[in-house]
């Protein structure tokens, strides 16, 4: 019997400060046993439990794309016991990863479709995985137009800035980067909240266009009407949720929204599915 509580041992290979306030760091992990990397095969949108012996576990979205081999990447906000401890760990330290967990963005359904990615703040991790996955030369032709609306409080709070600016230069992806406000005179991109920019820049709905939304509750709340006024139907709005989790395998009971468990039946739901639940998230 496979023990679903057993983490794969990993070594921290690289640590990068992700935002100017240093509250987020990106960790690159390498599996100690090569075969574990194959067992960990994931799809963009899934998460994993970062498992630090003696500290505990935290569920974090997988920020690396399945097309990136040899490592897995997670961007972690420092907020509680485990994440604070993790932020103080060093390259070379040994810990564990348990996963991949949960469902993923519906890649089969999205094939041949236009995709609008909408993200805010540090909820951009699985969206980064998705963009890298779609832009991979082997995959790009499977998708139609790709639009990305991504916003943060200020330029220095945007995740993966180097990649964002690279994607800006490409002609096979339409980037709409935005910040809430900035005093930087050289800022060349948008200023305004994500829902506003969605209203202005996101493509109008058609049956072949799907939106993937991931962000803080307040952003999701105001992005939904913006998408609806662009004509998106409830089954064209795909959201990724968060809830407090422990087991990640649908057993410990805390992350439910009605009969659905965010860890196992989610974290990805369509708005249509969510509207049938009590939405306790």
């Amino acid at each position: 019997m496979v023990n679903p509580y057993m983490p794969y041992p990993v070594r921290i290979d690289e640590i990068e400060i992700a935002t100017e306030d240093k509250s987020l760091k990106t960790f690159k992990f390498v599996f100690l046993n090569k075969e574990d990397e194959e067992k960990f095969a994931h799809k963009a949108g899934q998460f994993a439990e970062l498992s630090i012996p003696g500290q505990g576990e935290i569920p974090i979205g997988i920020a690396s794309s399945p097309t990136e081999k040899g490592f897995v990447k997670f961007t972690v906000f420092k907020t509680g016991v485990v994440t604070s401890y993790l932020h103080n760990m060093k390259v070379g330290d040994i810990m564990g990863i348990r996963g991949p967990l949960g469902n993923w963005y519906p890649w089969d359904l999205l094939e041949g479709k236009n995709v609008v990615i909408i993200g805010g703040g540090f909820a951009f991790t699985t969206l980064r995985a998705s963009i890298v996955y779609m832009l991979d030369p082997a995959n790009r032709s499977k998708f139609g137009k790709i639009d990305v609306v991504y916003g943060a409080r200020s330029p220095g709070m945007l995740l993966y800035r180097d990649e964002l600016y690279e994607w800006e230069k490409r002609d096979d992806i339409n980037m709409h980067i935005t910040v809430d406000s900035t005093t930087d005179p050289s800022w060349k991109y948008n200023v305004g909240f994500v829902p506003t920019i969605v209203g202005q820049k996101a493509p109008k709905a058609d049956p072949n266009t799907f939106a993937i939304v991931c962000g803080p509750p307040i952003m999701i709340k105001f992005t939904q009407p913006a998408l609806e006024s662009l004509g998106y139907g409830q089954n064209q709005i795909i959201m990724s949720l968060e809830n407090r989790m422990k087991c990640g395998i649908g057993m410990c009971g805390r992350c439910n929204i009605g009969k659905e468990l965010v860890c196992k039946d989610g974290p990805v739901f369509t708005l249509e599915e969510l509207n049938k639940t009590p939405r306790e998230y």
Partner: protein, 356 residues
């Protein structure tokens, strides 16, 4: 179905004999923190016998399979060790064990909890190993308690679901209904092998009818309409504030409940080693769902009370189509310090018609 006759004079001898092959668990007298006597299910020491007088236990026997606190993983934190910070499974004892004197509703409850821990996608090895290693020797309830409403919840005083043997107290003897091969193996190990005569089956049916009537004579709990109501109609119903009004979120109902399975995972360190635990948790506690950001989707008492009843009486029913996640044992009714009564709540939910 085969029925074995066990003369009560031979009972303790047989139980002792079974210890050669089984670890035994059963209800025994204990004292609580206030020195008050009560009964609990625990592992029986040598020379200790289960109380077979049909006693009520404050806690259900779920802890035999799903301990309140259980070590699951361990690792060394000593950097000089080659395997430091690599978790390993804690080896527990999963040799054959038998729970003697478990009630029908508690055995049925374990089959419901099993749906959560033994799934198509994931199997909790700690639960599965313990559950599979256990033989359940039930004791039928001849005199149901005032709070027993098990017949309304798909179980009953003589229910057989989840049991391997059902013992029926018939004065000077136990009539043992053999339900599974596992049950037969246990009875053989105890040397109980006298086949009862034809009249035993009739006797069991009579006692069963009598016990069921005792429950039926009390208020009936309705569950027949729950399935056809929508989750959102029940969730948004106006009665939840009233139901939750007196609740103090103590969590007692969840701890005494034989079907509550929610748990927490916690790490502890001692010197240079660490252990990861599974501990019972409760949806009554605000921390159960508190996000790292401070946001709490069930931060208000009413939301938590509603979660408990909706999970038991609606979400579970919709998810598995195996009835309610309540077996009608009545423990939460008995132990609730503010007299919240799941029988009343169930009837309110079952009878609710949303305003159109």
């Amino acid at each position: 179905m085969k029925v074995i006759k066990i003369d009560k004079k031979e009972w303790t001898g047989g139980i002792d004999k079974s210890r050669e092959k089984y670890l035994l668990f059963g209800p025994v007298k204990d004292k609580d923190v206030t020195n008050k006597e009560h009964y609990i299910f625990k592992k029986l020491a040598a020379g200790e016998f289960p109380v077979m007088e049909g006693v009520d236990t404050v806690l259900s026997p779920k802890s035999v399979i799903f301990p309140q606190t259980e070590k699951i993983l361990k690792s060394s934190l000593d950097q000089s060790q080659p395997d430091h910070h690599i978790m390993k499974r804690v080896e527990n004892d999963y040799s054959s064990r038998a729970v003697i004197g478990i009630r029908s509703f508690d055995a049925k409850a374990l089959t419901l909890v099993n749906l959560n821990f033994d799934t198509k996608d994931y199997q909790d090895p700690y639960w599965c190993d313990a559950y599979k290693a256990t033989t359940f020797v039930g004791l039928a309830v001849n005199k149901p308690s005032d709070v027993d409403f098990s017949t309304s919840m798909g179980s009953g005083p003589f229910g057989e679901e989840g049991l391997d043997v059902l013992l029926v107290d018939n004065g000077e003897e136990f009539l043992a209904k053999v339900i599974t091969d596992k049950g037969k193996t246990f009875l053989d190990a105890a040397g109980f092998n006298k086949t009862a005569d034809e009249s035993a089956v009739k006797k069991i049916e009579d006692l069963k009818a009598q016990a069921e009537k005792t429950i039926a004579d009390k208020a009936k709990v309705g569950t027949d309409n729950l399935k056809n109501k929508t989750v959102l109609d029940l969730y948004e119903a106006p009665f939840w504030d009233d139901i939750a009004f007196s609740c103090i979120n103590c969590g007692t109902c969840t701890f005494v409940c034989p079907t509550c399975w929610c748990f927490d995972i916690q790490d502890e360190t001692k010197g240079k080693s660490c252990t990861r635990f599974k501990n019972w948790d409760s949806c009554m506690f605000p921390l159960f769902t508190l996000h790292g950001s401070g946001h709490n989707p069930r931060g208000v008492k009413t939301q938590r009370v509603r979660q408990r009843f909706m999970h038991k009486l609606k979400y579970f029913l919709d998810k598995y189509d195996k009835g309610t996640m309540c077996v009608g044992c009545g423990r939460c009714v008995q132990s609730c310090p503010v007299n919240i009564d799941i029988r009343e709540v169930c009837n309110i939910m079952n009878n609710y018609e949303p305003k159109k």
